[in-house]
């Protein structure tokens, strides 16, 4: 390269840096008190990062919260249920392309019936810790999450499996969407682009309650009527319903709940997914028919990414927690100012809940610049 052209490039580089620095200096001031977040640590590694002092705390889903608090690495500062009581967490999402196929609606209703049966089985089992069902549930949870029995027991006591979508669910969807608009992560324009009149119109329409209601009438079938490609997140105890419904031990025989209702359920290509965002990408790629994931990625990837999906049931509420190091002196959210908290990723509900909680107190929640 000619020397003069090189000089031109270097001058351009200097100009770019100067402009950026000017924009940086001239930007508006932040509020009093900033809490920092770090998305570079995967959830299973958060406990180790906390004990080495790399982070001051982390927020994640069960069973990783109970795991950290039970071995004295940390203590739970706040459960997600305290940040937003009864907050929706994981949901069951169906691809609208799948619903438009001939068998789609019927297979989805069968799936939902199995989901409801599995959820009710877990709720009953959780009520009596001495029952055989509870022992089986704990065993299944151990197999799915690869954590020991006391951890999964504790984890399940902090969440509630639930499939109904009531008005508090729709209100929560609206609140999440409003928060995303505040954060500039999505826009009213994107919502309009997807064909909704407003945020409340979106919250009302995105959840399809009809299929769930009609699923109540589904009868068992002696033959397999169809296949469903299932998406779910790796080791996420919120999504136990699909694991329970897929296991023959639950019905005491050689059929699983899915098979009882005539379904062959296979893991979708790419499952188990490491994040809800990745699972939504798989929906768009046409690899997933029905999937379990968190409500926020189901919202964000639908509005921003145009994913043709609809929510057909809830899977659980609550079940996440904010953990800080033992004896750290952190006793409330106010003590988190200038501290660094690990979050799973920006599209997670954990991030959203903590962001909402901190904003209410007037704190900024900003990524930690290294």
């Amino acid at each position: 390269m000619d020397k003069k052209i090189l000089m031109a490039i270097v001058v351009a580089a200097v100009v770019v840096v100067a402009v950026v620095a000017a924009a940086f200096i001239l930007r508006p001031e932040g509020r009093t008190g900033t809490v920092y977040y770090d998305t570079s640590i995967t959830v299973p590694n958060m406990k180790a990062a906390l004990s080495t002092g790399l982070i001051d705390g982390f927020i994640s889903w069960e069973p990783f919260v109970s795991e950290a608090s039970m071995d004295d690495t940390g203590e739970v500062l706040m459960w997600s249920s305290e940040m937003m009581p009864n907050h929706p967490c994981c949901v069951v999402v169906a691809s609208t392309n799948f619903l438009e196929t001939e068998d789609g609606p019927d297979l989805t209703k069968r799936f939902l019936k199995a989901h409801m049966d599995a959820t009710e089985w877990m709720l009953t089992a959780n009520q009596d810790h001495d029952s055989a069902e509870y022992t089986l549930l704990v065993t299944l949870a151990q197999e799915f999450t690869l954590r020991n029995s006391s951890v999964v027991s504790a984890a399940m006591s902090h969440l509630e499996y639930k499939y109904e979508m009531d008005s508090s669910f729709t209100t929560a969807l609206e609140e999440f969407t409003d928060m995303y608009i505040d954060l500039n992560i999505t826009t009213n324009a994107a919502i309009a682009d997807m064909g909704y009149d407003s945020v409340s119109d979106f919250a009302d329409s995105y959840a399809n309650e009809t299929l769930l209601a009609e699923a109540g009438d589904i009868e068992p079938s002696s033959t397999i009527l169809g296949t469903v490609r299932l998406g779910y997140l790796v080791g996420d105890i919120h999504q136990m319903a699909q694991f329970v419904a897929n296991d023959p031990r639950v019905l005491d025989g050689d059929k699983s709940i899915f098979e009882k209702y005539g379904l062959e359920v296979a893991a979708a290509e790419g499952a188990p997914f490491s994040s809800g965002g990745a699972e939504m990408d798989a929906f768009v790629a046409g690899d997933v028919d029905i999937g379990y994931l968190g409500a926020p990625p189901a919202i964000v990837k639908h509005l921003n990414g145009g994913a043709k999906t609809t929510i057909v049931a809830q899977a659980n509420i609550e079940g996440s927690g904010l953990v800080v190091a033992k004896n750290s002196g952190i006793e409330s959210l106010d003590d988190l100012v200038n501290k660094t908290i690990a979050v799973p990723n920006v599209s997670s509900i954990q991030f959203l809940l903590l962001k909402i909680a901190l904003e209410e107190r007037g704190y900024d929640f900003v990524v930690k610049s290294s």
């Binding site: 402009v19 998305t39 640590i41 790629a285 990414g305 145009g306 930690k368």
Partner: protein
Amino acid sequence: MVDFAKELRRYFQDHWRNLLFGLLSVSAFLVAWHLYSYYLESTDSDFAKYVPAPGVVADAFMGWFSDPDPGTSVWVDVHVVASLKRIFLGFVLALAVAIPTGLLMGSLRMADALGKPIVEIFRPIPPIAWIPIFLVVFGNWGAVAIVFLGIFFPILLNVQLGVRSVDPVLIDAARTLGANRGQVFTKVIIPFLIPYMMTGIKVGLGVGWMCIVAAEMVGGSTGVGSLIRISSDLGLFPHMYAAMVLIGILSVLTTGVAALFERRLSKWMGMR
């Protein structure tokens, strides 16, 4: 200043054909991209939003100058500085280790015999493969370690080659003029190495950018690579593409700075 303008004009006069063709091909690419994006949108394709039009991407890019990035809610300079810091650190570390090691392995048979098996085992493993391990073991320095690994081998190999390729006539000439071993080293071998080292550095920088983007995409909170992943996670595809453009620009700028540095160094060493 007048001199520079004259040179620039001269450059255009000599290269106008190349510039014109370059402009044509870039324009054709942009038009094709726009048409594809339009096609996806008008046929209501499932992944229409995954291929935004060039204009939308440009809007997102320009938006970074007036507002914080929506996905990470910080100004983009935070990410640029984070990536540049990591590349610079990894680069400097790689230089500090690879040059002496290359010199040793190039000039001493024993060093070569000791080092060669280890180099040959680790060199073919793509640095990217180490990302999950380094991010845990080295924590915040994980990305720097990946960049180090990526830049280390090209520089090492090129320095080794350079040392071995020194024209023996030059060494003899220096000796005849009374140079001792140390002077032969600093006045003959090291200046001779500079072009080889620069080749290694240029290759290394290219690999280094790939490494930093990959490492940040897998597990980064800040940096242009994590900008890609986070934008994609949130469905902010225009910003994802804009981040890719940003990386391209930064890569060209850093290579340009490195080439300028080479010029300076060669001149100082008396090679030009």
